[in-house]
Amino acid sequence: MSDSTTTEAPAQPPAPDADGGEAPKPSFVRTFGRYLTEANSVMVTIYSLVLAFLIGAILLIVSDEYTRSTFTYFFARPQDAWYASRDLIAESYTALFEGAILNFNTLESYQAGQADFGNLLRPLSETLTYATPLIFTGLAVGLAFRAGLFNIGAQGQLIFGMMGALIVGFSLDLPIWLHLPLAVIAGAVAGGLFGAVPGVLKASTGAHEVISSIMLNNIAALFLVWALGTTFLHSETKSDLVSKSVDESAVLPTLLSSLNPSLRVNLALVIGIAAAVFTWWLLSKSTFGFRIRAVGFNEHAAQTAGMRIGSTYTTTMAAAGALAGLGGAALALGVSSGGITTNTALDYGFSGITVALLGRANPGGIVASALLFGALKAGALSAQPDVPVDISTLLQATIVLFIAAPALVKAILHLRTPRGGLVTLEAKGW
């Protein structure tokens, strides 16, 4: 998927017009220029970022009191406004970039021998850490999409996965090679069982999976609040509404903490990528995937060919739930192994919808767009308060908007239609 190129754009937006004087290979320049002005998926992604960051720049200027004030006397001394805006924007975006990819200060210290290599990796580690749950929820939504189901319930599935993994994580006393896999599996099973409910309801009564999923999300969130208050789950030592912490033997090992203890990225990322590969394999190579896709595209033809629709719905939703449940396990046994709270799940399930759609319900695309979201989140977190959190939210929304709407980018920038036509997310009804 082309989306993998996305993360490097913020630093220097490529100038669309390379009007260099000398042209040693005119044909190449022309081809390249043509490529740049064409609405192919790579360029659309790049331009989406550029456009979103332009809009973000305007918001930044508006929100910054000092810079805004320089505009009040713009006609008297325009350079003030210019310099203030330029500095503000450069600083803000550098801050985002530094939080998501590479911190230039750290780089300097590293080159000066003052910081270790691990320090340098921290922004990337954060990006990967935040991307991990999104890979799972994105896959959960994406897989269901392929069967024609709109799994808006990844949030609830993730919550149940979290609880399942947590319970096995603190209540059993086993060696790590047994405990950890069991806890991870418990997350998948809990999420899978919870995810199967809308599937079963749809198969048996026709109840729309969107309604049941929305209801179950709310039920799951409330159930978590209640469960955290019970003596079984509630921390024995802390009075806040936080769960027991999982045993050492069930904590997902970090991958890079030997380089630097603050590198939080853990085994869940590997599991996530494995899950993506597995989902890809499942969809494109297995008979189960064949059936899912057939049912998703045309349930009537699938049924006529002898496939059972109801059981496909149920199993697909269960599989999707298991994926989201793994995401929950990744949280409960990973970054939140010290105990989960009522908002550990954040909105990972809902973001999974955007991740899945942006990744065109394709495992590869889902991983790529989860990385984009992870980078935005990590960048936003570290760039505050220079970049207010709400601006980061807006920035995220605009980036996704443009990427999802190549036709819009094409229209705004007057790009050419590429040979194969525009690649738009395929639309599907309820």
Binding site: N105, K238, L241, S262, T341, T342, N343, L381
Partner: protein, 345 residues
């Protein structure tokens, strides 16, 4: 990796300030009309009091964000870092142990390890409040002011910083019933069973209003919402219900901080902003502190706000009784206990 030069990458307002105080919020952000907001108010107060202090904050959306935010604050070269919320205690402790050159403070919590066990540190100042004491007085006032004999409280979520208010409130009412032979009922919180009415949200003011309407229809004429911004719903419910229904606010003096002063009999205050301000100023003076501050009636860290518009309505007799109760609490002859009370230092 300690002792890095302060980076000058953030060109803030006090660009030439030499002391940087940073705050890491709990979820909710700095405008949660609750402890994050109060703590930030304290930070800003410190900055306006001393030009040489520059303050900044980082918001956490959940517990997973604490570590990176604390780490980023250290990396940004902060000299003093305030973590808000007991949930962050272990994270602040870990960061403090790793960065002994930086001062830390933890609001509503004390240094502890991941399992919650206390930890010895040299650079963590713990700021806690025994708000049961101020809520106790508020409960006593409520019991003295109710016409219907029924008052109500409800919370945002069943967590210690909330239930401690409700416990104190319940005990204040019980005290009034005992001393004055009244039979004032408290709806919404059963102190013995530790069960009650919670929205499970600090934001949903509309739900707060409808919950309050329900209490009013069940006869309550004084409402005590402990729910940050969602608590505003109780005030609008009281306003719509007319003169008969009033409320008592928490955390700050609601007469100043909300638009519903005329409906507020008093407030059970928690002097968070002052405590944070003092901590930052002390840290600037090189006295970052390593101990526990517990705000009480005695040190005026918690208090009951003035009656403002209700000054005439509250009888002198009641005022005298309140003074006596306050004195009794301060001298220890009256103990207000809540399971959520901070452990005495």
């Amino acid at each position: 990796a300690c002792g890095e030069a302060p980076s000058d990458s953030n060109g803030g307002d006090n660009a030439d300030a030499s002391f940087s105080a940073c705050m890491v919020t709990d979820s909710g952000g700095i405008d949660d009309k609750s402890f994050n907001e109060s703590a930030w108010a304290g930070m800003e107060a410190a900055q306006s009091e001393n030009d040489d202090i520059e303050v900044s904050y980082k918001e956490s959306s959940n517990t997973d964000d604490y570590d990176p935010n604390l780490q980023a604050s250290v990396d940004d070269g902060c000299d003093f870092i305030v973590g808000v919320g007991g949930l962050m205690a272990a994270n602040v402790t870990t960061a403090a142990l790793a960065n002994t050159g930086v001062g830390f403070a933890i609001v509503d919590g004390s240094p502890s390890d991941a399992s919650g066990a206390p930890v010895e540190t040299e650079n963590v100042y713990s700021i806690q409040f025994d708000t049961a004491q101020s809520a106790f007085l508020a409960g006593y006032v409520a019991a003295s002011q109710t016409q219907t004999g029924t008052v109500a409280t409800w919370g945002g979520m069943q967590i210690p910083p909330v239930t401690i208010f409700m416990d104190g409130f319940a005990e204040g009412i019980a005290k009034h019933n005992e001393d004055k032979g009244t039979d004032v009922q408290l709806l919404g919180w059963d102190e013995a069973a530790q069960t009650g009415t919670f929205l499970n949200s600090f934001e949903d003011a509309a739900a707060g209003k409808s919950t309050s309407d329900t209490f009013i229809s069940q006869g309550a004429d004084i409402l005590f919402p402990v729910a940050g911004p969602a608590g505003i719903g109780a005030l609008t419910a009281a306003e719509e219900a007319g003169d008969a229904v009033n409320a008592i606010w928490v955390d700050t003096d609601g007469f100043e901080s909300t638009d519903y002063g005329s409906k507020l009999i008093t407030s059970a205050e928690k002097g968070l902003a002052n405590a944070v301000r003092d901590a930052v100023l002390a840290a600037y003076d090189g006295d970052a502190g390593n101990g526990t501050y517990v705000g009480t009636l005695a040190n005026e860290g918690v208090s009951i706000a003035p009656f403002h518009d209700f000054d005439a309505a509250v009888s002198d007799e009641t005022k005298a009784e309140l003074d006596a109760l306050q004195a009794a609490i301060i001298d220890g002859s009256l103990v207000v206990e809540s399971p959520a009370s901070p452990v005495a230092p």
